[in-house]
Amino acid sequence: MATAREIHRHMKSIGNIGKITKAMKMVAAARLRRAQEKAAASRPYALKIKEVLSNVAADTSVIAGLNPKEHPLLQHREVKRVGYLVLCSDKGLAGAYSANALKKAVAEISKCEHEVLIITSGRKAKEYFARRGYNVVSSHFGFSDRPTYEDAVDIAHDAMEAFASEQIDELHIVYTLFKNVLSQVPTSELILPVKPPEDVDSSNKIQESFIFEPSQDEALKILAPKYLQTIIYAALVQSAASELGSRMTAMSSATDNAGKLVQSLQLSYNKARQAGITRELNEIVGGVEALAQSNH
């Protein structure tokens, strides 16, 4: 059994770890709230741009008659190489968040029968795929828990370049959908070629005929990349919220565990201390008795 002093030292260090995890939990909680606000604030733009795109693309004859050279993002090709954009965290200590996202990505990739190229966001994803010898074409990091629209623009730029230069014929995105603090769902979606969203309530809505200024063609040329950026931004924001939520729960249970450990250590510390005192008393009493006997 360890000495009382050793137990005391162990207890202190666990107590300090508990303080750190508690601080991290509170930081994650504050950031999570901000991330959720950001997600809410970005929704109107995303919804509107979807609506505009579906309006622009409502006339399918126009889409069919497009010059593929001028609209590289809408081009459907025979699939030879598939790109995966994997969104993950920069830092650990977020429970199973990174592991789950990467597991989902690997499951998707192993299902794919074509050559696979990977674009990563977040240090963890980069390290994971680079170490396992995957073909990582570009990686972005440093913003996983507070992404800005510019970050999405950068990623979209790389993705569009790869797609336009026929490096990849399809692009899937793997990100983590934030449901609530306790549940985050790794999700995979096809994002390139850009598929105009189908209007959900188009059947009961009278199709408005828009005037396009200057033309539908021009609008699509600018709209398609913007739409891609918006999708990537939305995924980044979702992933950031998931990361923070996951970190918050992980740190919260770490704090609880530290507390429990300190409690049980306190118990064995008290026992060890008491045992020491008893032993010392025994020695004194024994000594006194021995002395008394020798005096007789």
């Binding site: 733009y45 509107k48 309006n55 396009f212 200024e213 200057p214 609008a219 709209l223 913007k226 950026q229």
Partner: protein, 139 residues
């Protein structure tokens, strides 16, 4: 008296501006200037890097710096989708001037084509910002 309609500017980060009594919106598409009043036919316009002017029912005006994007008008509601947009009063004139100078020096010291086109874009934005800021402060 022109009837007012709803007008909103949304950027990826937030809804920048919303008003219910706008009577006129003037802006520039990539091919030329345009204006919208109430009961305009549904339109989707591709915007240029240019100032956007809106006139309220009480006759006051407000200017915005809009760096490209879209404008949609339908059902008495006009929505501007822009990656970057700022109201005229919020523009930091000193920063815009500095950006303008920086872009100009970059353009004069001929570098690679890609850098030149980027400098041109930022020059365009800086000039537009300065103009919008001046327009907003003129009254």
């Amino acid at each position: 008296m022109a009837t007012p309609f709803e007008f909103e500017i949304v950027t990826p980060d937030k809804s920048l501006f919303y008003s219910k009594d706008v009577t006129y919106v003037g802006f520039k598409t990539i091919t030329g200037s345009m204006g919208i009043e109430s009961r305009h036919l549904p339109v989707i316009a591709t915007l240029a890097v240019a100032p956007l002017k809106c006139v309220f029912a009480d006759g006051t005006e407000k200017y915005f710096a809009v760096c490209g994007g879209f404008l949609e008008m339908s059902k008495e509601k006009c929505t501007v989708l822009a990656t970057i947009a700022e109201p005229g009063e919020d523009i930091d004139l000193a920063r815009a001037n500095a950006a303008k100078e920086r872009a100009e020096t970059r353009l004069s010291t001929q570098q690679k084509d890609i850098v030149a086109s980027r400098a041109e874009m930022s020059l365009k934005r800086a000039i537009m910002r300065i103009n919008v800021s001046k327009m907003s402060h003129r009254k």
